[in-house]
Symmetry: C2
Subunit: 199 residues, 2 copies
């Protein structure tokens, strides 16, 4: 058998394949289109097979959320730093909003009702990774005297919250998608002004 792609029953890595398919389905059909049975069907496996890799549907959703936070962390980390802290903040803000609007179903799932405690550890690490770049940016800006003093994590949470809220409004149609870009820049400006040290 010269074929390298050997599979036990049907798959080499069913878990990874299910996760990948799930994220695609999430993008195409939203969270309502996500079902273990359909996933199994799409991947060509019996409907009970996923149980071996995900204890129940919640475990699948948790795994998708963790993966989402990791991808968000990577997107933020890869956003190039600008000359000024302000410029970097603006770039990060656009990245965040872009990610959140391009992956609205995923982000909704990431911040959905409290995930099962079983996912807690990997989830916490992934969430921390996602906030690492904003926190580092605030810390750096504080050193340069461009942002007020205070716990950098709290300041970062406060700032990112504004972006998350905008993304929520865009996703639900409260804000028209066309005006989203302008609004994120305005919001970032208010944020920067609000965080600037006062004489």
């Amino acid at each position: 058998m010269p074929i390298t792609r050997s599979r036990s029953y049907h798959h080499g890595d069913l878990r990874a394949e299910l996760l990948q398919r799930a994220e695609a389905t999430l993008r195409e059909s939203g969270v309502d289109g996500l079902s273990l049975r359909r996933l199994a069907r799409d991947v060509g496996v019996s409907h009970a097979a996923p149980t071996r890799h995900f204890k129940d549907k919640q475990a699948l959703l948790d795994a998708i959320a963790v993966s989402g936070f990791q991808r968000l962390a990577a997107a933020l980390a890869q956003t190039a730093a600008a000359d000024s802290a302000d410029g970097h903040i603006r770039a990060l803000a656009r990245t965040y909003l872009h990610f959140a609007t391009e992956n609205s179903a995923l982000v909704a799932l990431m911040f959905a009702r409290r995930h099962s405690p079983a996912a807690g550890d990997a989830m916490s690490r992934a969430v921390d990774a996602a906030f690492a770049t904003p926190v580092a940016l605030i810390t750096e800006a504080q050193k340069r005297g461009e942002v007020i003093d205070g716990d950098p994590r709290r300041i970062a949470l406060s700032a990112v919250a504004a972006l998350q809220g905008l993304a929520t409004f865009v996703g639900s149609g409260v804000i028209a998608a066309e005006t989203a870009d302008e609004l994120v820049d305005e919001t970032t400006t208010h944020m920067i002004e609000g965080l600037r040290p006062r004489p």
Copy 2:
């Protein structure tokens, strides 16, 4: 028949009763506990009866969302104005976050994936009602010279987005519930500073 509570088959107002029961179920069991069949069972009617009042499940969710925006509008409108614009902003911010954290499943549903266009009209009115108080506050503060110039609706959206984001973080456990109160006050402070006219 001296009993005034006459019912045709089983109910005087099945639609209202279903909606009320749905909101209770939403609070107790989250959106996953919400099913038309269970609702019908709880209310004592056949599983097909709700169809007369809600075309499908999405129509029920839309109706719940509209009702949620109306309740949010009322909560914001009833928040007493303070002496200063700053004080009023702080009070409104606390009301918003309190509403969003006490009704997390409802708020998640309100801002969920685009509602069906059929609900558009009533939905738009309800959303506008919810934002009316914040927009009026910004307009008033602008007149007093306490907030920078600009479209008051956009400024209000920007400000409320920060609160909505915080509520999302609290609801998903990214922010510990204990620190939520401090964080909303800090965020409000940054917001006020960011919106203050610059000399």
